[in-house]
Subunit: 261 residues, 2 copies
Amino acid sequence: MPRELIDLLWRDHPAAPRGGTRGPRSRVTTGAVVDAACTLADAEGLAAVTVRRLGEALRISTMSVYTHVNGRDDLLVLMADAIYAGMSLPAHGNAGWRTRVRRVAEANLALHVEHPWLLEVDDERTAFGPGTIAKYDHELQALDQLPLDDVARDAALTFVLDFVRAAARARRRDPRADEIAQSWARWAGRLAKYLGDGYPLAQRVGGAAGQAMNAPLSPAHAWEFGLARVLDSLDLAADRPTGRPADRSADRARKKPVSRL
Amino acid sequence: MPRELIDLLWRDHPAAPRGGTRGPRSRVTTGAVVDAACTLADAEGLAAVTVRRLGEALRISTMSVYTHVNGRDDLLVLMADAIYAGMSLPAHGNAGWRTRVRRVAEANLALHVEHPWLLEVDDERTAFGPGTIAKYDHELQALDQLPLDDVARDAALTFVLDFVRAAARARRRDPRADEIAQSWARWAGRLAKYLGDGYPLAQRVGGAAGQAMNAPLSPAHAWEFGLARVLDSLDLAADRPTGRPADRSADRARKKPVSRL
DNA sequence: CATAACCTTGTACGGCGTACAACGTAGGAT
DNA sequence: ATCCTACGTTGTACGCCGTACAAGGTTATG
């Protein structure tokens, strides 16, 4: 399989190199391989996406998978781009930027809830895929009305999407949750002994029983809190066209975000 | 090795169960195992931390590692907590909250730059470790002066630290960078063909040659932009003492009953 | 019809985490 | 002083993983 990742990503584009017509047709398309991998990942997590299991799901020998994909790393990139390509990118219409950004954030959260394994795919080359680029273009448009230069606009979008990723990570249900809960039942007493009177602030603010401390007490609340912070802060950034922090404290009360939603 | 993770995490605490005195002393301490693992991870990445290589580094048989650690999963938790425990947590003194939060953010960024593998350790049980709890307590204090209730304070800290994690992830140098650069040299022309006149916004704002598109054009700029946004937005949150967005009251009543530690 | 290009497949290699059992070693009980 | 028992150490082995490689089958092209 000599086709390069860039060509695999753009395999549906008219200019993409079609394979020669010689030899038998492959019994499965590259797209089908990627789709099957995504289905597998949705159902059982990314760890279940092994070349062997993928071949099994496709009724194909293990090594035949390599006819369509150069290796597992490339497969993950194709999977991620396929998911992005599948997003609906509704026109922003005449909605204000606040609404636009909120919708972008909510769409991305939904995406990560539906495909939690996306959080584990961390390959820069995903950025070259058609789905990823279309998504990027669409989401940049959400910031059209903000007076940000290109670099700041990119930074702003990164800021929003990184927040969403973190929120999605906090929200996702750990498949080992039951097991951890059992451990916690055994550990609670001992941890209390260890802590004693120390770290009172952490103990007061920190975890409810059975819940990890650094997991937000309520993911839903953390989402609302964080999203409100993100939107408010972009409001302020709009006051400073370069996107750079101004000397604050002076003009703090001067301006507050007014355009709610 | 029947000692549970919670006891391993707190192994230096006076109340921690000491192993019986029978039998030969182990030739290596648990702390040494964890330290060696961290050194290995710093030098060659988390993937290099295998039980076999760890034993080799400690001049111990592979299986002897399991004398000190129940498995690789537990080891990662111990590693992360050890790094957190090693952070210096300087008193906040009489610095304002903005300075405090900035220092917290910078300290965490430095931590992730020094130990990039921390980003790959994602185990809720880390939260039960002494280093993690001490860090949590210290960082909560940075928000002392802000009029946030406990839940909002936790959300605010999560908000800050999640931003830092994302920035650190963007900043870290991909070990395959050279390889990707080579690919890019081969791909640039083809990608231009595929893109054509499409996605003009993405093409203008997006990547400079050889750079992944969703990587911030300048990590340094993204850091300053984001940190300024975070600080500004906390300023606004302080104006609304509950830390809750003013206008969306719908689904907020659902707050979990918490039994504090 | 021969050839070259292509797909498919089985085998095999070197890695991984770790279960298990055999063995050695030292303190506590007698 | 001796036995017992708890514990540390170790080698082997199992079932996974990704994938290199080569042999064989299948098809359009010369």
